[in-house]
């Protein structure tokens, strides 16, 4: 009885193949990190490492948990959007150990001009001074309270504070409308902007004063919509009143 014999060359080649593959997979096991390729062509553990880095800035919300008095003052002033740690420096250490680690409280003249020194590149309407001429040598804090800074005079135009909204409205179809067409502005809002808020339209009937089929004359270019157009939505859910031609 004759058995089929595998040619010797094939056997040798197979043996070499097996050895090479074993070495390859062995090396792979040794050198490729375990988490490599779990989500993609990278080490999944690196994501956890990036996540575990220490935090330095605690965030304004954390500051407000203890310093609610300062937060209340600040939240009604012009610095309401300025996070505590902009001036006082990173405060996560202070949150961990309030007794020994104290954040800095800058009192010198250098810090405020970083934002408020005059530069033509800054947006129009942003309060700026020429530092060299503005009470030279005096620390800013002698006249201005950083937590509740007050401009030297009460602003007269809405655009003095709401410049972003104003400049957008100026290039929109609503450019000819005054702010007061839609907003009731109490006098006290000028001196106490956060304490006394402006009135806003509350219902679709307000917009319908101009935009309903019944209100506008037929030859008018004002867009007119049918009463059922809005459905259960408010007009400003889809249309931004300060820039109405923006995509809804």
């Amino acid at each position: 009885m004759s058995t089929v014999k595998v040619p010797q060359q094939l056997v040798v080649l197979s043996v070499i193949g097996v050895v090479v593959l074993s070495v390859f997979f062995g090396m792979r096991t040794l050198f490729v990190p375990e988490s490599f390729g779990r989500y993609g062509h990278y080490r999944a553990d690196a994501v956890d490492a990036a996540r575990a880095l220490p935090i330095k800035f605690a965030g304004a919300k954390t500051c407000a948990e203890c310093h609610d008095d300062v937060d209340k003052t600040k939240s009604q002033g012009f610095h309401r959007h300025v996070s505590c740690e902009v001036c006082h420096g990173p405060g996560a250490g202070h949150v961990e150990d309030p007794g020994t680690i104290k954040p800095t409280a800058p009192r010198e003249r250098g810090l405020c001009p970083l934002c408020h020194n005059y530069s033509p590149s800054r947006p129009t309407g942003f309060p700026q001074i020429v530092t060299a001429q503005h009470s030279p040598g005096k620390p800013c804090m002698t006249c201005h309270k950083p937590h509740d800074p007050v401009p030297p005079s009460t602003p007269k135009e809405c655009s003095a504070c709401h410049r972003g909204i104003w400049s957008q409205k100026q290039v929109s179809r609503h450019a000819s409308l005054e702010c007061t067409t839609c907003h009731e502005v109490p006098k006290a809002h000028f001196t106490n902007p956060r304490g006394v808020a402006v009135g806003k339209p509350a219902a679709n009937t307000f917009c319908e004063q101009c935009h309903s089929k019944a209100a506008a004359p037929k030859e008018s270019t004002i867009p007119q919509v049918a009463a059922e157009h809005a459905g259960r939505y408010l007009c400003w859910d889809c249309h931004y009143p300060h820039f109405p031609e923006g995509k809804p």
Binding site: V15, V18, A46, E85, L114, S121, R122
Partner: protein, 283 residues
């Protein structure tokens, strides 16, 4: 029979004098023929393993599956940032906070985010400068007839189609499942290819660790519900951060109500740092 004959003829010249099955008592070690025979016997095992598709690595190291349940990709956020050029006052607090939060080396050459000042004269080319990333303020402007001038904060664009990730030869820079481009410090070989590939100049080689370094969107902060340090300290809310998948996120609002552009859109990198009210001069 023919096969046997062939085999016999083939082995003739190479086989030693001793018969195959009975090595001479004078041969203390295995001779070549015996060794190959041994391997022949081991062959079926190897072939079976390969046929079954079991890599040998699996036999050596038992891979443990992660115990925590995986969140599907569709439920993960897709982080992005927007910068409103009309609101930026160029105070450089973002660049300073970034250095403090991420232990970036205190030198003008190493920055993860920086503020550029664009001065576009009525006549001639736009001038761009960013002394020490804008952290110490900007010197007085050159005496030219200015048409317009503004500040542009820059950082890694966390592209949806990142060229740096494509070129990394070892898989050390990658895109996380929530859309942030990160560098694996322990795996980077410092070849600088990604630094060359980034069209936005957002990467640098860390001079001590000798690995590529860049903005991470403060990954350690955003995954814990905090804002990136630069967004946290921005005094005019010019920088906005959020999840593109969430309709309620502040980034959706700024994208919806402002004219938006991205940097170098022609490169098809699909950046996820959006610029609102920006000039076409910005590159």
């Amino acid at each position: 029979m023919t096969l046997r004959d062939n085999e016999g003829a083939g082995t003739g010249p190479t086989a030693p004098a001793a018969p195959v099955a009975n090595p001479g008592p004078e041969a203390p070690c295995m001779d070549r023929r015996q060794f190959i025979d041994l391997l022949k016997k081991a062959m079926p095992l190897g072939v079976t393993l390969l046929a079954c598709g079991v890599p040998i690595s699996d036999l050596v190291v038992k891979e443990e599956k992660p115990a925590k349940p995986e969140i599907p990709d569709s439920e993960l956020p897709n982080y992005a940032m927007a910068v409103d050029i009309e609101k930026c006052i160029g105070c450089g607090r973002c660049a300073a906070a970034c250095k403090a939060e991420n232990k970036v080396i205190d030198s003008p050459h190493y920055v993860r985010t920086w503020v550029e000042r664009y001065v576009i004269p009525k006549d001639g080319e736009a001038q761009v400068d960013s002394p020490n990333a804008g952290i110490d303020g900007f010197p007085d402007q050159p005496p030219v007839d200015i048409l317009k001038t503004f500040f542009v904060p820059k950082l890694c664009n966390h592209c949806a189609n990142p060229p740096c990730v494509q070129v990394c030869p070892v898989g050390a820079t990658f895109q996380t499942r929530d859309g942030v481009v990160l560098v694996d410090d322990d795996y980077c070989v410092g070849c600088r290819y990604c630094i060359q590939a980034c069209p936005y100049g957002a990467r640098y080689l860390h001079p001590e660790k000798l690995v590529a370094d860049k903005c991470t969107f403060c990954y350690h902060r955003i995954t814990q519900g905090l804002l990136p340090a630069c967004v946290e300290v921005c005094p005019t809310e010019a920088r906005v951060f959020g999840d593109l998948k969430k309709q309620s996120s502040p980034i959706q609002r700024i994208l919806r109500f402002n004219p938006i552009m991205t940097l170098k859109p022609e490169l098809n990198t699909r950046p996820k740092v959006f610029y609102a009210n920006a000039d076409q001069e910005i590159t």
